[in-house]
Structure formats: C-alpha cells, structure tokens
Symmetry: C2
Subunit: 440 residues, 2 copies
C-alpha cells in the first residue's frame, strides 16, 4: 500500500467501537481519507512519515458550539445582564465584516494549535468566517445567528438561507453552512419552523441556544405556559437536525422531549460556570440516550478555545454536582469531544474516529512533558485519563485536517501569525472605539 | 546601578499595594533580591538582559497545597472511598525514598515550567523532597504528613521534628521545613498541640487538611460534639501559623473561629470538584477577612500542577456556586496565587510581589499566542483577565527563583528531563508492582 502520510510509533486511540488503546499504532492517510489504521510496524510506503513517538494519535477534537468573537477579557466579572448590555450587545452590533475576518483567523488558529479540527460557529457575517476557514484549512460548520428581536444585530433568515445556498457546494464538504436561530426568547416560532424545514430540504442542520439561563426559561414559561423545549415541540419546531447549545435549565420531561425528537446537545461547562448560568444535567441526558458533544462557547465567556481544558472541567463539574467522583468518566468525556461531537453534526460517518474511509482529521498529543508522566499502557492504563485530566491545548504537536498537515511540531504550517496578531489588535481597538459610542 | 539580570520591555504587574498594570515595565535583579522595579527604559547596566516583549512580568506563583505524588491517571473516576482504599493507601504505604526522589523531581519540573516558584508539600520522606528542591532551585515549604491513625504511613511527629531541626538552617531560607498534621479525623489532639507549640518555637508553620469532605466532618462531629474547627479551637490547637487545606464543609461560625485564630486557608478548586468533595465558601472567607491562597493539591486528584488553570477554575467555581458572575474577580484570584499565597506562608515580606528588597522570584508569561490576543493596556485593560481566564502553564517562558534563571524560553536550564522521564517511569512501574500486593 502507498500513502501520502504515515503516522507511526505512537499510542493510538482510534475512538472506534472497540474503545481500545493501542500501545504502538499507526494511521496511514491517502488524499483526504484514512487509508489504514493498525498496530505495530506497517509495510506502507508513504511520501511523508511522521513519528508519533512519546505521543498519542487521536481523532481531531470537535467543538460543537462557539462564536468567532474577538474582545476577550474586556469588561470581565460583571453580572450577566450588565455584561450583555454593556459590552456584548454594543460590540456585536458594531461588528463589520473585517472584524470577523480578523477574529475568525485568530480563533481558527487557536483551535488548530489546540487539536480542534472541527468547530461549529454561530455568529455574524458567516460568509466571512467560511472564507477564513477556506484559508486556514479547518473543518467548519457555520451558521448565521438570526435574531428576530428588535435589539438583534441584523442577520435575517433570508440572509441565512442565501448563505446556505451559496456555500453548500462551495464548502466542498469541509465547510458546511447551517441554519442558525439565536434562542426561543429572541426568535419567532416562524423562524424556527422555516429553519427546521429548510435544513431538511438542504440536508444541513440547525444550531440554536436553548435554556442557558434560569431567567430566559422563566420568561418563555410566563409567555408560552410551558418550557422552551415543550413550546418548540408543541409548535413542531424541533428536529433531529437540531443542535442545541447549553440546555442548563431543563427537567426530565424536557430531556424526554429532546430524545424523542432526536435533538443533540452541546455542553459548555466553562461558559456556564463563568457566567454563573448553572450546570447542564449531562449525566441525566446521557443516561436518557441523548447525544451530547463538548463545546467552549466564545472566547468572551470561556476565555479560550481549549477543548482539553473543557474535557477536564466538563468531567469535574459533573462529578461535583452529582456528588459522585465516578460520574462522567474520562472515556465518556473523550467521546463527547470526538465521536459524540461528530454525531451532533450528523457527520459520524465522516469524522470523530480514526477508521478506514473516514476523513483524515488526526492529531498527535505530546506526552513528553512532566505533567504527562508516568505512563501505563498495559492492563492498567492511564493514557485517556492523562489526556482528559492532565493535558491542555499546548500539548498538541500535530494537527491534520482533510489529510493536510496544518500544525507541525506545534507550529502552524501555512499561517503567518505575526501579521494576524497585528491585524486582530488593530481590528479590536477600532471595534472598541466604534462600540464605545453605544455603551452607557 | 548595576544588576545581574534586567528584565525589560514587558507589561509589568507587580502585585504590590497599587494593584497596577504598567504597560512597559522592568525589574532588575541583584543576587537573590529585586534591586529595582519601574516603568520605561531604565539606566541600569546588567550582566544579562531578558526581553519581556509581548510578555507579562509577574511575581512567581505560589502553590499553597500539594503532595509530590507520582501515580497520576491510574484508577480514575472511582467513588472517593474506593479511590482512597484501592489506590491511594496501598501506594502511599508502599512508597520508598527513591520514589519520592523521582516524583518530586517531576512535580518540581512541572511547577517551574508553569511559573510556580514556591510550593507547599505535605507528604512522605520530606528530607528527600527537600534535597530535590536543593537541586531544582525551586522555593519550597515542606512538611511531613504525620498520621496517628493505625492505617497511617509511618511518619511520626518525632520524625517531623527532626526534619525541621535538620533543615532549618540547611534550607537557607529557600527550603523551609514545616510541621505537617494530616487531619482532625486521623490525628490525636496531642499531635496538633505539639506541632503548634513547636512551630512557634522554631518560627515555622503547621500544614494540615481541614474539613475536606462531608463525611469526615460528620465523623468528627459525632465523636467530639462539634465541628473539627471548633474542636481544634476548644483544645487550643489552632494557630496563626497554621495553613489549612480545603475548608469545604465549614459554616460561618467556623470561619469566625479561623479568622480570630489567624488560620490561613489553601483553596483547591479542581481537586474538590474532581473528588466530588464540594466547594469551599471562598467569597465568604475573603469577606470575613481570612487569608486564602490557591492550590492544586496532588496530581492524583487534579491531575496537573497548573496554577493558571487553577486560577481560572477557582474563579469560575465561585461564580457558579454564588450564582453571581461578578464573584471572585480576576484581580482577586491573581492575588490568591501570589501575594495572598505569600501571606499564607508568613512570607509576605519575602515573596508574592515584585518590590525592591524582596526575593527575586519572577516569571514572564508569553502573550504572543492566539488565545492571548487582542490586548488592551490602557484605561480598558484585559491583561489580568487574560492571565486568569485564558492562559495556561505552557504560556510561561521564563521562571526565576532566588535570582536564578531556572526556565529560559520555556525550557528548564539545568535539569535533564529525558533522564528524569526514564527514572519516573521505572519508579512508577516498580511502585505499582509493590503496591499491587496490598490492593484488593
């Protein structure tokens, strides 16, 4: 067999149905696909051989909810409503396409360096975020954040529809345009229904926020007489193509409704902690058979896009709220960041595990760091635990998307970061200046 | 003025009483002390000049509670009692001095690489941990973990006393021997009293666990008729030289007792989450005037020694449990990791801030990473927020302790990590083999 890239001599965790850890494994890539996966020394000729010695070969991580924002760290530690009104709304409504270009480049660079090969974006100027993804090489699901509320930022359902039509073929399968609906408290039911209907027609998905805060749930409850999820179900606005972010303030009945409708969930532990929103009942959701992926949310409420840190915090948070140290074990949270994430996007046949025929989205995590020793790879095995509880984004040394080597030895292969830093700095200062006039 | 090392052209956060951020600052070091701190270009001749361009100059971080353990990631996700009985106790009681040598070297290397310049250790073979600190150059407070309970690991108060006597001068002020008492549920009151008395006599401190889990508090309550803290107070076993780790299950009366006695607290957010212990009421403690430092606990319950991650999680966790996004703001948690940490150790005149005359424990954090952009250093300022919410240990590029450059460009100057990796791997596998016979 011949391959373009052969990764060998690493600990291999394919995240396939076997859930196994192979002490010495390899992955061969031909074009944009995985051609072979196995253990030991393969007899494969490859144009490029990458040693994964002292490293773990993993499928690329999948970030199921984010916004490509820019103003991290500004106006921190405010109560949620102050934060939204004083900083988020003025900034969001002042955004121009050039800002999204600068911030998307920075966010995608950060994600690639940290081993995230696929992300979901819900924000403004989706065509610009998509163009940046064309450039960076990352895999992306991009939706417009449509808000019907008069305080919204301008994107309409019709804009979103045009974006989907424009990018369905242009995205070449790597960049997938989706429908985006902000939330039940800020959108009309017609927008949800139209998005769900069109998503089916175009074979794409619908991304939305759902039940993030107590107050929004109470608000909908007061108007609709039932929970936001029950309301969407009653109005035929749920779908198995829907990915709902947060789902913090939900009950067993909501979980049942979501499961019956096939709605997928993006769990955002850090953001929900930092904004004091609460904790999503992830162990209950998983027990009920829901598909739950992992997500960072935006760098305004996280404030980084590190899915390794998110795995760690996501698992620890479930242990804390269930008062059970065995809740959401490491293997399960690693699935959330990989194969369950793929299922959230309806892409489980393409990504989320290292299996022959799937897209070649592969990362190598370096183990030769003091915080990743010692190493047990036999019957006692601490490799997955170390990835989930000890590692962080900076431990990633290789990132491959669609068979392209985008991060090599911890550095971006094609992107000029120094120029990007200057651009994001200028854009952020200019945006702040423009937004300031809207701030109280 | 002449200096040995001059660090310049960086954003300077001295953590002194001004709480300021200096957009372009410098620190000059002569011998083991800080000779000058200021803004702009100093007229100082130095043997070595370090550029802090695109970086933040900070005092070294202080980890107020840890154990220099080795078996990270093994037997994870177990209920607490299973974890303690199946893995911790068999391993702790099988430890030999050579194991502590290997694990201490790995822990200290990890901490130095991550910008921690001072740590508190409570574990076995303290003299070995101290010898390793002599070698690595890190600043250390080391206590024996004395357990009176028959299931304890062997260290006695008399051993601890001898360790304090041996290392009081040998430590040269950089390595400080302390008394260590495991916990109220595993120790006799006589041990607490003896340690408190001797700590005063020798001018050192006493480190202990306090109210980590609900069950241990209930156990002491049942036997003593009051909370562990009230019991220690009643028995004259509290002291302003005492540093108590955890303090999760305490009430307002306990807080008042600790404040009146001058007891300091080490907050371990990750460990308390991961072991499902609960959340320490840190905002209440700070409001009551208690001194609270930050800590990682051991790499068995964390599973890394990254104080940047701990700042982030520590702040987010307080926001979550108070349901207030403004709780424990970034500046306050950065103080916990620096100057409050120094106060916990009674070393606030020596370390914890960058001020003339203090020990030269200085770090530089790299900002030239996608997750640390953009940057606002004027009236709007996101530098502290980015350090707390966005950074991690891998962003540290320089670590200086006692005026010695121990980490340069993200690499340990003097330690041969490759040899240390081989040693810790061999030691861990051998320890596991020995401990296995004790495991059920």
């Amino acid at each position: 067999m011949e391959a373009d890239i052969l990764i060998q001599d690493g600990i291999l965790i394919p995240m396939d149905a076997s859930s196994g850890v192979i002490a010495n494994g390899y992955v061969a890539i031909t074009g944009d696909r995985i051609g072979a996966v196995g253990s030991g020394k393969p007899s494969i000729k490859a144009k490029k051989v990458i040693s994964a010695q002292n490293g773990v070969i993993l499928p690329g991580l999948i970030n199921t909810h984010s916004h490509q924002t820019m103003m991290r760290g500004v106006c921190e530690d405010l109560p949620l409503m102050d934060w939204l009104e004083k900083i988020c709304f003025p900034i969001d409504s002042s955004l121009q396409a050039a800002d999204i270009r600068a911030s998307s480049l920075m966010c995608q660079a950060e994600m690639l360096l940290g081993g995230t090969t696929t992300f979901v974006d819900l924000y403004r100027y989706p065509q610009v975020a998509a163009e940046v993804a064309e450039q960076t090489g990352i895999r992306a699901v991009i939706a417009s954040q449509v808000i019907d509320h008069p305080a919204g930022t301008g994107e309409t359902y019709d804009d979103n529809l045009k974006f989907v039509q424009d990018w369905l073929s242009r995205g070449k399968g790597r960049i997938r345009p989706w429908f985006g609906v902000h939330a039940p408290y800020s959108n009309n039911i017609e927008t949800y229904r139209a998005a769900v209907r069109a998503a089916k027609e175009y074979g794409v998905g619908v991304h939305t926020h759902l039940c993030e805060t107590k107050s929004e749930v109470e608000q909908v409850q007061a108007i609709r007489g039932c929970s936001p999820i029950a309301w969407l179900a009653r109005e035929n606005a749920l779908s198995n193509r829907m990915l709902a972010a947060h789902c913090v303030h939900i009950d067993q009945e909501d979980i049942k409704i979501m499961r019956d409708a096939g709605v997928k969930v993006a769990y955002n532990p850090s953001s929900n902690m930092k904004l004091a929103s609460g904790v999503a009942p992830v162990t209950d959701m998983l027990a009920a058979g829901l598909t739950v992926g992992l997500a960072t949310d935006s760098n305004l409420s996280n404030n980084n896009l590190d899915l390794f840190e998110e795995m760690r915090i996501g698992a620890m948070l479930q242990k804390l709220i269930t008062l059970d140290a065995s809740a959401l074990p490491a293997t399960e949270v690693l699935k959330m960041a990989t194969i369950y994430g793929a299922e959230c996007l309806g892409l489980e046949d393409e990504i989320g595990s290292l299996e022959v025929g799937k897209k070649a989205d592969v990362i190598i995590v370096d183990l030769n760091r003091p915080h990743m020793w010692p190493r047990f790879t036999g019957e006692v095995n601490n490799v997955i635990a170390n990835l989930v509880y000890s590692a962080n984004a900076a431990d990633v040394r290789t990132t491959i998307v669609d068979g392209r080597l985008l991060v090599d030895q911890g550095r971006l292969s094609d992107l000029d970061l120094d120029t990007a830093f200057v651009e994001v700095q200028a854009a952020a200062h200019d945006l702040y200046r423009r937004a300031q006039v809207k701030m109280s």
